[in-house]
Subunit: 221 residues, 2 copies
């Protein structure tokens, strides 16, 4: 049994080391990196597309798309919107790791990018445990998933820097107690920066874009 624990430990250390290398590469090129996590269907790609459509003049974005299958549906949408995208197919794995992200970074020209969005695999559990080398972690929750998610998937909310509450355009049609949801998050991650948005209508994006601009500016100082 002892032997097995040692092997697992070594794998984790290796991921940490590779994440550190990724971070160094991003820093060398003054690129601000964000790891975007969410449940399947919470709207990660739509959120990124709405962000692209509102990007301030001169802010250059690149996207790494994590998928469990070799379909390029999401990556195609990003390139259709005029931004460079690299797809990672995890081959069924439930999260990205630093090695995959490192290989994807090599496919991007970091000199042409100010902001790197890494769309993790749709999963509220696995991605929380693996450092990728990015600077900020965000989680997107969508209102139709229900207001009990912070209580049932606490780990993902504990480690993030920003929470996006997506699909607020559906609030009139569903039972979602915003107070209850946000109280749960507050217990796990007090004072967490939170934006309530609709990636469909664009509502609520101004604050998010401002936050993004500020972060990119700081990375370039």
């Amino acid at each position: 049994m002892k032997k097995r624990v040692e092997i697992v430990k070594r794998i984790m250390d290796s991921n940490e080391q590779l994440a550190e290398q990724n971070r160094q590469k991003l820093d060398d090129h003054q690129v601000f990196g964000i790891n975007v996590m969410a449940s399947p269907g919470a709207g990660k790609t739509s959120f990124i597309l709405q962000t692209i459509s509102r990007l301030p003049e001169g802010l250059r974005l690149g996207v790494i798309e994590g998928d469990t299958a070799p379909v390029t549906i999401d990556a195609d949408k990003i390139t259709d919107a005029g931004m460079p995208a690299v797809q990672i197919n995890t081959g069924g794995d439930c999260h990205l790791d630093a090695n995959m992200v490192g290989l994807a970074i090599e496919q991007l020209d970091l000199n042409d990018i100010d902001l790197l969005l890494i769309e993790n695999v749709g999963n509220l559990i696995c991605p929380a445990g693996f450092a990728l080398g990015n600077h900020a972690n965000i989680v997107i929750s969508s209102t139709p998933e229900g207001d009990d998610k912070p209580y049932k998937y606490p780990n993902i909310y504990r480690g993030v820097d920003v929470l996006i509450i997506n699909k607020i355009d559906l609030l009139p049609y569903i039972d979602f107690r915003m107070d209850y949801f946000r109280e749960g998050v507050e217990m796990l991650n007090p004072g967490l920066k939170t934006f309530e948005v609709s990636s469909k209508t664009g509502e609520g994006f101004d604050g998010w874009i401002e936050w993004l601009q500020e972060k990119v500016r700081t990375a370039q100082e």
Copy 2:
């Protein structure tokens, strides 16, 4: 490297063996077992609650609730609805396994149950790889998750016996192409038994309840 592969193989074998023991226990008691899989927030618990409210006279149900945290929100809802429920806290793991389910089965009196619903952890990736000993696997997809899910999470659709398309009451408010979704599923799992339902309004449940009754009847012959 060879040693490590052997260890993993042995763990898998052990899960298969434990799943076989669970199956034997269910069969001995003429209990039909269903593994319910879905993304977080697809409506697994609401689906089970609507099923309970429509159970035919004399059909006795038990529920095993899989959660990644020690909250009993879902298990409480089931016992409030008058049915026996046992909660499994996976401690952060992204799926149930046969050992956990075996321990939970010991907490239920199988003589008092005709149908066992095992609500797996909310995850579209991990649960597909672990046999639990149940007779049928179902996946619940909800319309707000988007119509591209079969294309992006193919594995979960390949191995199931029934697909529930939940939250059809939200169709007027979202962009969801039912044809595109169902075509994707058809490629992965031709002829898959599918029910379009709303766990909120109860729409579409008649066919599902009929399917369930037929399965329970067969298990008791």
